[in-house]
């Protein structure tokens, strides 16, 4: 991602400073995560639990403790004249609480929402300011978007040739090669100086997309580019999408056409998504379905780690001298292994540890001493139980399955503390069944039951309250 100009940064820094002095801070919390990591449910839970906490419910005790009990109220900032769709937190909550319940579908478009947190001043200075300006009001900006698009971020730094080389190298390894066999056979058979035939470009894209969809939906892979090939968004499929990676040495009209489409695609993603929404944020949380990656097998697990490393390398981390000078950049990043309710309590520490290993193995610079790495469940759907397996008692979880409405125990397998050795991966591909959400109050008065969401929020934004 190109660096912002220092002048823009300085202006933004001055604006942040003025807002802080007036007790009207604005905090952009970027909720990043690969597809199916649970971003939409996470945001719904954050909104519902913060609104409930604003009304006095003890939904987020760790955050309240971090705020020193000064949180006086939370409200949704009324809609203005925004062109971006509004994140429908009440709608998602109502769907989760409905009978039968419905999980949010795959996110197809961007949406945003703002919460205003009213906080009593902590210091004498703050109290003096409060006499003039009233209570402190911290506006929390939240953004939901299709997770697939996040992996376009590393593409912004690459040309077509480099992207093609890396993508094809990944596709030719292990189980990916099985899924992409048809596409690989097609591109390998293309003449090096193929002319710009539209039929060839369309066929190549069709085969490439079919391979990506199979990798995502049947094998649990995540490092799949470009994002809009998998999730075209509300604008639908446009010709600029019709490109695919070409082997080295291709230089004819077809290669030119694909190169131009690749460049146009990146320009469009930058203008429509990254520049307006990803340029400047203050806090960031990265959600990862670490358990899903573990269950999907060795290659899918490593693929997730690789995707996270690529994203982390592409995101600004706010450590440069210019960032320090202007007060811009991400000041705090949190990593969360989602769906922690899919493992019993005793395995959650291990899940957090595995998450740390997943993130830190290839990106050690990302993990600072204060970087929170946690296992969370934005909505808790199970309770702990024990079961007999092969004659031995094991800790398991049980919940009501979405598919048949039966209360069923599930053994999530052993959760290793770090990436396990080769003997671990003998188990076949396993996909955790979807559980029904627990009984919820549809009006949101009691928030949403969760695991560890409060501690994560306290670590991310507690210092601002």
């Amino acid at each position: 991602m190109p660096l912002l100009t220092p002048i823009e940064d300085a202006l933004a820094g001055m604006s942040d400073l003025a807002r802080a002095m007036a007790g009207r801070e604005r905090v952009r919390l970027a909720v990043t995560g690969l597809s199916r990591a649970g971003k939409t449910v996470f945001l719904t839970s954050v909104v519902a639990n913060l609104l409930a906490a604003g009304q006095g419910a003890r939904t987020l005790p760790a955050l309240e403790a971090a705020a020193g009990g000064r949180l006086r109220g939370v409200r949704l900032v009324p809609a203005g004249t925004e062109a971006t769709p509004r994140f429908d937190a009440p709608g998602h909550l109502a769907a989760l609480a409905a009978d039968p319940p419905r999980w949010p579908g795959r996110t197809e478009d961007l949406s945003t929402l703002e919460l205003e947190l009213t906080v009593s001043p902590a210091s004498w200075l703050g109290q003096a300011r409060g006499m003039v300006m009233g209570d402190r009001r911290v506006t929390l900006e939240l953004l939901d978007y299709p997770g697939e698009w996040l992996l376009d971020l590393p593409m912004l730094e690459q040309g077509f040739e480099e992207w093609s080389r890396e993508t094809l190298a990944r596709l030719r390894v292990g189980r990916r090669a099985e899924a992409a066999a048809e596409f690989l056979a097609f591109v390998d058979a293309l003449p090096p100086r193929a002319t710009a035939e539209e039929a060839l470009a369309r066929e190549g894209f069709r085969l490439y997309r079919a391979a990506l969809l199979r990798l995502r939906d049947e094998m649990g892979f995540r490092f799949l580019q470009p994002g809009r090939a998998l999730n075209p968004g509300p604008r639908g499929e446009a010709p600029l999408l019709w490109f695919f990676p070409l082997p080295e040495g291709h230089g004819g009209g077809l290669a030119d056409l694909l190169r131009r489409r690749h460049a146009a695609y990146l320009a469009d993603q930058r203008a429509a998504f990254f520049d307006p929404f990803f340029r400047r944020f203050h806090r960031q949380v990265v959600l990862v379905d670490a358990l899903g990656a573990l269950h999907a097998g060795e290659q899918a697990f490593d693929d997730t780690a690789e995707a996270l490393a690529a994203i982390a390398a592409a995101l600004r981390q706010g450590g440069g001298w210019m960032d320090l000078l202007t007060g811009q950049g991400v000041r705090r990043v949190g990593f969360a292994a989602t769906k922690a309710d899919h493992v019993p309590a005793r395995a959650r520490e291990a899940l957090a540890s595995l998450m740390g290993d997943l993130v830190g193995r290839q990106t050690p610079s990302v993990l600072g001493a204060e970087t929170p790495v946690r296992a969370i469940a934005a909505i808790r759907c199970t309770e702990d139980t024990s079961a007999l397996l092969e004659g031995r008692p094991v800790a398991a979880v049980r919940g009501v399955l979405m598919r048949d409405g039966r209360l069923t125990p599930v053994y999530p397998g052993e959760v290793p503390l770090r990436r396990p050795g080769p003997e671990f991966w003998d188990a076949p591909y396993f996909e955790m069944p979807a559980f029904q959400p627990p009984r919820l109050l549809g009006d949101g008065a009691a928030g949403i039951p969760h695991l560890g969401l409060d501690a994560l929020l306290a670590a991310l934004i507690g210092d601002l309250l």
Binding site: R58, T408, E414, F430
Partner: protein, 288 residues
């Protein structure tokens, strides 16, 4: 240990209701510890003085009435009538004090219910309030039908509260004009201050009356204290007040009398600010 994850199907498993994790009960707001309302020493002393004054005077008057009856029945009845009238008026004043305080309390209850998100309690308090405020009468049927709290609040803000805020600002403008005029004609700065203090208290009572409250002495004191807290929040809207001050001080008539007297402008600003603060303090719903 078996490593592979799996779904443990049980033959006897039957369709089950949604899991109840007991979350609703776990997050119920903790009631704050009840604040023990103990009488402060000055309040106890004041109450003692009041009891002595009223009690001893009542005993004294009772003795006097008895003496008057001893002198003659007509004289006794007349004295009794005078005493009953006097004490009746004092009692009536006390009753009005209590009613004023009760009205303030009901506004407080409404605000608390809104803050809690308790639609039923907020609706009760709002309907009670609307019944005694003429400006709310046209909106009363809609308020009764409001199905949720946001609708109730939106109706209040759009209808009666906007009208009451406007009336309060108008009262503030009138008080500001009077303060300007007073600073021009009152010869001594001390008298100046006295006038502005008196006008300020009167303004707070006027604004309270606009909002359907008729506070007595105790109610006024309570309201003054609350107004003082609200003044901080109102100062945030300084630009609006500056504009209003300019509007008042550039009134041709006032300008010809007052000129550009700085003290006059300060007094006018205070009145306008006070009107807004008092209006915030008296509102059934805390302004956003």
């Amino acid at each position: 240990m078996p490593r592979g994850p799996r779904v443990l199907t049980e033959e006897a498993a039957r369709p089950a209701p949604r899991l109840d994790l007991g979350w609703d009960q776990a997050v119920v707001p903790v009631a704050p510890p009840p604040i023990s309302r103990r009488w402060s020493a000055p309040a106890l002393a004041a109450m003692g003085v009041l009891v002595l004054l009223l009690g001893l005077s009542a005993i004294d008057v009772a003795g006097f009435v008895a003496d008057q009856f001893a002198r003659g029945a007509p004289l006794g009845w007349l004295t009794l009538g005078v005493a009953a009238l006097g004490y009746g008026l004092i009692g009536w004043a006390g009753l009005r004090e209590l009613r004023g305080l009760a009205a303030l309390e009901s506004v407080e209850r409404g605000r608390e219910a809104v803050a809690r998100g308790d639609h039923a309690a907020a609706r009760r308090a709002v309907l009670d309030w609307a019944a005694r405020v003429p400006a709310a009468a046209p909106t009363l049927p809609a308020l009764k039908q409001a199905s949720d709290l946001p609708t109730l609040l939106a109706l209040l803000e759009a209808g009666p509260l906007a009208a009451l805020d406007r009336q309060a600002v108008a009262a503030g403008r009138a008080a500001a004009l009077q303060s300007l005029a007073a600073t021009a004609v009152v010869p001594s700065p001390a008298l100046d201050g006295l006038f502005i203090a008196w006008r300020g208290v009167r303004l707070v009572r006027e604004v309270a009356a606009i909002h359907g409250l008729r506070p007595g002495v105790a109610g006024t004191l309570k309201l003054l204290r609350r107004t003082l807290f609200e003044a901080g929040a109102v100062a945030a809207a300084d630009i609006a007040i500056n504009a209003a001050v300019t509007a008042v001080t550039t009134n041709p008539l006032v300008a010809s009398v007052v000129g550009d007297a700085a003290t006059g402008a300060v007094a006018a600003r205070r009145m306008l600010l006070l009107a807004r603060a008092a209006s915030r303090a008296c509102r059934i719903v805390t302004p956003r």
